[in-house]
Symmetry: C2
Subunit: 149 residues, 2 copies
């Protein structure tokens, strides 16, 4: 019942090669698991699944491979950065901008009409209690030193 017939598409190897990396059995199997199991698995869930095909694989390798696939833009990491939770007293609807350089997080005010347009992408039946919008990139704040967050 091996649903994950290892996909060794040229494009897979190619995407890795473009970053100077090799296609390995571990990477192939993990990628094929992500393709077949479209339910946003965690590293641990991938680990459990991949062990049935490569029993000697280690959890560290799973983390390494997932990180590699993200770097090669073959998969995306959801719930992105695993840093400390941060708190803000700004209760107005707003988005956040995370400056990659300084690590600072800025509030970006969110006009009502944009918010409702965002909510309009939800198919019928979806009832959203909250939306979280986070940008990441470069912000105009010149001095990283005086802006920790």
């Amino acid at each position: 019942m091996s649903a994950t017939s290892t996909v060794t598409t040229p494009s897979f190897a190619q995407a890795l090669a473009e970053s100077g990396l090799r296609s390995t059995p571990q990477r192939e199997v993990i990628y094929s698991i992500l393709l077949s199991e479209r339910n946003h698995p965690t590293a641990d869930e991938v680990f459990a699944r991949v062990k049935t095909e490569l029993p000697s694989i280690s959890l560290a390798t799973v983390y390494n491979c997932l990180e590699t696939l993200v770097q090669c833009k073959l998969v995306k990491a959801v719930n992105f950065e695993r840093e400390s939770t941060r708190y803000c007293p700004n209760l107005q609807p707003h988005a956040h901008f995370h400056d990659d350089q300084s690590g600072a997080t800025h509030d970006i005010s969110l006009p009502q009409e944009v918010l409702s347009q965002i909510k309009s992408i939800l198919p019928p039946g979806y009832d959203a209690a909250s939306v979280e919008i986070t940008f990441r990139g470069k912000s105009p704040c010149a001095n990283p030193a005086d802006q920790r967050n």
Copy 2:
């Protein structure tokens, strides 16, 4: 240099009271720190700061108080849920919907025009490399059992 003159506004006590909770020195000081330090501090940073006013406070209390303030809707938690990172091979622009009941995460496709409208809220100088949009609430998927993520 005690910038945090404890704010005991009636509304603060009131917001707590509405949830059947008390206004305590620890909660007041922590809230006032969040108000004065508008840079999205972490629990640890709040802990460091609050210790100068309440030297005997414990880290657990800081976590408890922050959680309490979030429950009373006095502050918001950014970088919300501290769960495992999840991975998906869907490279199209899409948002995520997190079903609170089942814990499942669904992809929501994101039309180009909505995406560009979202990006348009950024003030000049902000250069976003990526945007992450996450809804949370109730999704129409009836059976929580067969949809883990």
